[in-house]
Amino acid sequence: MYFIEFIKGSVKQVTTGNKYYWAWVVFLCLLIVIGTIAYINQMVSGLLVTSMRDQVPWGMYIGNFTFLVGVAAAAVVLVIPAYIYNWGPIKEIVIFGELLAISAIIMCIGFVVVDVGHPERVWHMLPLLGTMNFPSSLLCWDVVVLNMYFLLNFSIATYLLYKAFMREDYNHKLVTPLVLFSIPMAVSIHTVTAFLYNGLAARPFWNASILAPRFLASAFCSGPAIMIILFQVLRKTTKFKIKDEAIWKVAELMAYAMGFNLFLLIAEVFKEFYSDTHHLVHTKFMLFGYHGHHNIVMFTWFAIFASVAAFIIFVIPSTRKNFLTLNVGCILIYFGVYIEKGVGLIIPGLTPDVLGEIYEYTPSNTEIFVSMGIFSLGFLIFTLMMKVAVPITRGEFHSSRVSVSQE
């Protein structure tokens, strides 16, 4: 059975590497250990060790979750052009987008698990075994679509890699419909996550129809930003060839997405300020601070500045095609969207609270350490998967069956 050889070979791939590879793996493991210790402490003492309180019941964990759902959804940006328009240069790198999506969803699940008070009770959410509140609760929808999206990407990526390992052509009749199906799935994971907030009439900052479109627009920037940086790292560290034009094409798509995202932001800000209702307090809190609480203001403006600057860089062809400015743009987009879809979404939505009280949330050390641990776990999983995928796509790691006949 060649699949056993595939598994064994993969294990060998991830356990061999140069000193930089091992330094990176050990560094990530160290952060995972720190995160685990912080999490055990949180389990023992309760969520009191976080900065969340009744007034702000969600914080950094759910913010990270939301951001990463966007990253996972953004794999679709690479899938759409590659499969529908059959663009040569992008097709070879789609698989890495899918691997990124897999790691992002694992991190998403991690952030939900550390956020709940009783993770051992999550089976209560399962159909038949527990009492799943489906279709009423959007959280149930999110669990369903995230798991489906995970399974879909995991199976496509594994199948494609295995076929490449066997040096066989993959079954187009099987893969093409699955890949096409992953496009609406990617849209749906982010839409459902947006609806999770959107449906709460108690929180006017989230209860705006523009939320889901904005989620998609910003995700189509942040996911590819990570991919562009990653492609360059791969080009430098491995013999993997990724054409410049593929990267520029992705960057061009990002420019359109960011332009649309900024347009939606303007639409939102206009509506809030011009109508000037009680609901304006959340936007005011976010942009200028409210009743002497200003902690979040600096982050908001950084995110806006970063998004506008990145848009300009990506929309002008000469700066888009210059790798220095391109990378600056990617970093700006990454942090801009991380704030916008993380604390910038959760905290103003919950502050002031429903009875007008202002509790100013800033993440505690426990939250920061646990979050670092989960991010490291995601990076580790991604690194290990790439360690297997890169040599396969380069044809260096393949089945013994083909070594004699084809080489």
């Binding site: 003492s45 309760g46 969520l47 009191l48 976080t50 969340m52 309180r53 009744d54 007034q55 019941p57 969600w58 939900v112 956020d115 709940v116 008070g117 009783h118 993770p119 051992e120 009770r121 999550v122 209560h124 959410m125 038949l128 075994l129 527990g130 009492t131 799943m132 509140n133 009423s136 609760s137 959007l138 959280l139 149930c140 669990v143 999770l196 449906g199 709460l200 009439a201 108690a202 929180r203 009680h278 307090v281 919950l350 002031p352 609270d353 429903v354 009875l355 007008g356 009280e357």
Partner: protein
């Protein structure tokens, strides 16, 4: 309270019940036989949603809880599991013109419902606002501390669970750990709640509170007269809130806050009984509800008597 209905056990037929009965028994039964000493843990782990439990299963759980609480607090507890009263829709009416902001209701609630002292949880929040502004939540604070109340120029508004007919919290709960019971009380099964706090985000009244640490109620004077869905000692990591004192009201008593109020601002009763005090108030006074535009349809009415 004027209703004279006696509690009756209502067992609703449920399509999934037969499956769950078998599945629920089969799952814990196997490890249970071999690990008698760990029975408590496994029993608790595999315990079903309160709504799915048979009367016999409820009796067993209640007995187990009573033993646990006696061990922890050194006192004999009763944990009731009385179902919703038939022909009853509990409702509340609060006379804002009488309320003086003394917070007697808050402390009556703390004692009756075994609320945690550290970290502090209050199911009732009394908001202080400027009298001339009327009800304005954007200019309200629960953190006032005067020598004498009511303070000059201030008005007071207690807020607690509004027991909505169209409750956002029960809608969003991913596991159906909270629901609107047939007598109009929104209840929580603390043993089923996963602690995701989606209900806290969804509640427009700030009525829901999370146990951020292990709750520590006052040990001396702890109320041993409890209900499974009400004031029994809770655990960390679950959500709790006002239950209209389910342990009292299902036995025909007033909620503790009604009895604690020194000025008679708090009225409670059965909406379906035309002779009840709340029915009288709804008929003869002009009442309002909080955040009417959200269509939560509270059964908690405010009025100026």
């Amino acid at each position: 309270m004027t209703d004279k209905h006696t509690p009756k056990t209502t067992t609703k037929a449920c399509s999934r019940r037969s499956f769950l009965k078998t599945a629920g028994k089969a799952l814990p039964a196997v490890p249970l036989l071999s690990m008698q000493t760990e029975a408590g843990f496994l029993e608790r782990f595999f315990q079903k949603n309160f709504k799915e439990l048979s009367t016999r299963e409820k009796d067993q759980i209640v007995k187990r809880l009573e033993q646990e609480y006696e061990k922890e607090y050194g006192k004999k507890f009763t944990v009731g599991a009385e179902p919703a009263l038939k022909g009853v829709q509990f409702a509340y009416a609060l006379d804002l013109s009488r309320c003086i902001g003394c917070r007697k209701c808050v402390y009556g609630c703390v004692t009756e419902n075994n609320l945690s002292i550290d970290p502090q949880i209050h199911w009732i929040r009394v908001l202080e606002m400027d009298e001339e502004e009327g009800v304005n939540l954007h200019n309200a604070t629960p953190y006032y501390n005067h020598k004498k109340v009511p303070a000059e120029g201030k008005a007071y508004m207690p807020v607690q669970c509004q027991h909505c007919r169209n409750a956002p919290c029960t809608k969003v709960c991913p596991v159906q750990a909270t629901w609107l019971d047939d007598d109009g009380i929104v209840v929580i099964d603390y043993d089923w709640c996963i602690g995701c706090r989606y209900c806290i985000a969804a509640c427009p009244y700030g009525a829901r509170h999370f146990n951020w640490a292990k709750p520590k109620p006052k040990r001396e004077g702890i109320n041993t007269n409890t209900h499974y869905l009400g004031n029994r000692p809770r655990m960390k990591g679950v959500v709790e809130k006002c239950t209209f004192c389910v342990q009292r009201t299902r036995k025909g008593k007033y909620p503790a806050c009604v009895e604690a109020c020194p000025v008679g601002a708090r009225k409670f009763g059965n909406l379906l009984d035309p002779e009840s005090e709340v029915s009288y108030i709804l008929k003869h006074k002009r009442v309002f509800i909080l955040k009417e535009e959200l269509n939560t349809q509270p059964k908690f009415y405010y009025f100026y008597g």
